[in-house]
């Protein structure tokens, strides 16, 4: 991370297969604010890959803050600290 006062948001390769979205460094805030900022900097198509119609994290998408899985998909009100890392990946599903 180039700026330790920011939060790093990364998207898994399974997402980058659909939408080109590199790592984003965004200001601290709630997880909602951080995700919104990262999605705003990415191609417009990316947001509906991560969030559903009601702007909750999709059922088969998993968000980690550092090494902790985010369990509440709706509120996203955790406060992130400088240097935190957010990772957005696909949860396992399908066949």
């Amino acid at each position: 991370m180039s700026d330790p006062s920011l939060v790093l948001v990364e998207f898994a390769a399974s997402l980058r297969r659909h939408v080109a979205c590199g790592p984003q460094e965004v200001p601290c805030g709630s997880l909602r604010q951080v995700l919104d900022a990262a999605l705003a900097s990415a191609p417009a198509a990316l947001a509906p890959y991560v969030l559903d119609d009601q702007r909750c994290v999709r059922k088969h998408v998993a968000v980690f803050i550092n090494h902790s899985l985010v369990l509440d998909r709706q509120n996203l009100d955790q406060q992130l600290q400088p240097g935190d890392r957010v990772l957005v990946i696909q949860a396992l599903t399908g066949g």
Partner: protein
């Protein structure tokens, strides 16, 4: 040379050919489930709806017959209210899949309709760049009685724009009957009188709002003639869907999901029968298509070139499609079988029996 698009669990396949010679090409969206297709006869543009397991329903378009694809906005529900009667709506306000796509009228360039699961109807006026939920139908109080038919939630699988008047729209829902609008979707009338669901409690079997039409199609030359493959048999209307008449179950079965009709002949339609609700495979493991040429008075069983057992193919709602030439018919199964008939079903050519499960077919003009 004709072109058929095949929406499968693992990508969008393109098939080209004529008569008994067909070539299958490498898929677009390889690995991704494709839930629905539209070849817009007005613009020549193709549309493909994806149902990504992780990332939701997506929509792509091609303006160069599949050489390249561009992602569009997909239909999406507005925010669910926190208060009022809709706050208690048990149906998720999230598009799980686009289950039907239809072009607007010839005089409405850019208008598209999408029927979804859950059963929201969405309209685009800009070729799919943006979508809006049709609120009059979604806010209809009787929607709360709709049920899922083989799925968790009700879904809209058929959207028909009347070729005489694009303001006349008919939709069919599993399970929520048939609805029609005469004013472009501003108001809706339940339109399933005559249908019967024999599994419902006594006294409710003929409730139009509880019917499970599996698929509805319309005769282009005589648009008052509609056909429905229903959960409990075959129904036909000759008055634009106001009333429906049950067709006596043909051999080998009146159960199934798919129906296709002749755009020029209101008496002719095809069906892909399965044994029953509880046995969703061909009767005796022998795959057939049935065709009526007399409005459902009699049926011909068509099996030449189709697997005669043991065959456990099931044809989904959108897996039977007639080409614009009016004689080339395609049939596709959940077991990855794809057959094409050059002569309205009299004989069938197997394109493949090794494709992924197939959800929908669409012929390009």
């Amino acid at each position: 040379m004709q072109t058929l698009l095949v929406a499968s669990r693992k990508g969008l396949f393109r098939v080209q050919g004529d008569d008994l010679q067909w070539q299958l090409y490498e898929p677009a969206f390889a690995g991704d489930p494709v839930s629905q297709l539209l070849c817009d006869p007005r613009s020549g543009h193709w549309y493909a709806a994806l149902r990504l397991g992780h990332f939701g329903a997506k929509l792509h378009t091609s303006q160069d017959r599949g050489a390249s694809w561009t992602e569009l906005a997909a239909p999406a529900f507005p925010p669910k209210p926190d208060s009022g009667p809709l706050a208690q709506d048990p149906t998720p306000w999230n598009v799980d899949q686009v289950w039907s796509l239809a072009a607007g009228g010839a005089d409405e360039p850019g208008v598209l309709w999408a029927g979804c699961m859950p059963a929201g109807l969405f309209k685009s006026e800009d070729g799919g760049q943006s979508w809006a939920l049709n609120r009059p139908l979604w806010d209809e109080p009787r929607r709360m009685l709709w049920m899922g038919g083989g799925n968790d939630y009700p879904g809209m699988h058929s959207v028909l724009v009347d070729p005489r008047d694009a303001r006349c729209i008919r939709v069919a829902i599993s399970c929520g009957g048939v609805w029609q609008s005469r004013d472009g979707g501003q108001s809706w009338t339940l339109s399933a009188e005559g249908m019967k669901a024999d599994y419902l409690p006594e006294g409710l079997g003929q409730d139009p709002n509880l019917q499970d039409p599996h698929r509805m199609v319309q005769c282009a030359a005589d648009p008052d003639v509609l056909w429905v493959q229903h959960h409990c048999g075959i129904f036909r209307s000759t008055d634009g869907g106001r009333h429906w008449t049950a067709i006596a179950p043909p051999a080998p079965s009146g159960f199934g999901f798919a129906v296709a009709c002749d755009p020029a002949n209101p008496l002719r339609a095809w069906f892909a029968p399965a044994q029953s609700d509880s046995h969703r495979f061909p009767v005796d493991g022998k795959m057939v298509v049935t065709r009526t040429d007399d409005g459902g008075q009699s049926f011909t069983v068509l099996d030449m070139g189709l697997p005669q057992g043991p065959a456990y193919h099931l044809v989904y709602r959108h897996g039977l499609s007639l080409a614009p030439d009016g004689r080339t018919l395609a049939l596709a199964s959940t077991t990855g079988g794809l057959w094409i008939s050059p002569d309205q079903g009299a004989q069938w050519h197997c394109v493949s029996r090794d494709l992924p499960p197939i959800a929908a077919l669409a012929w390009s003009a």
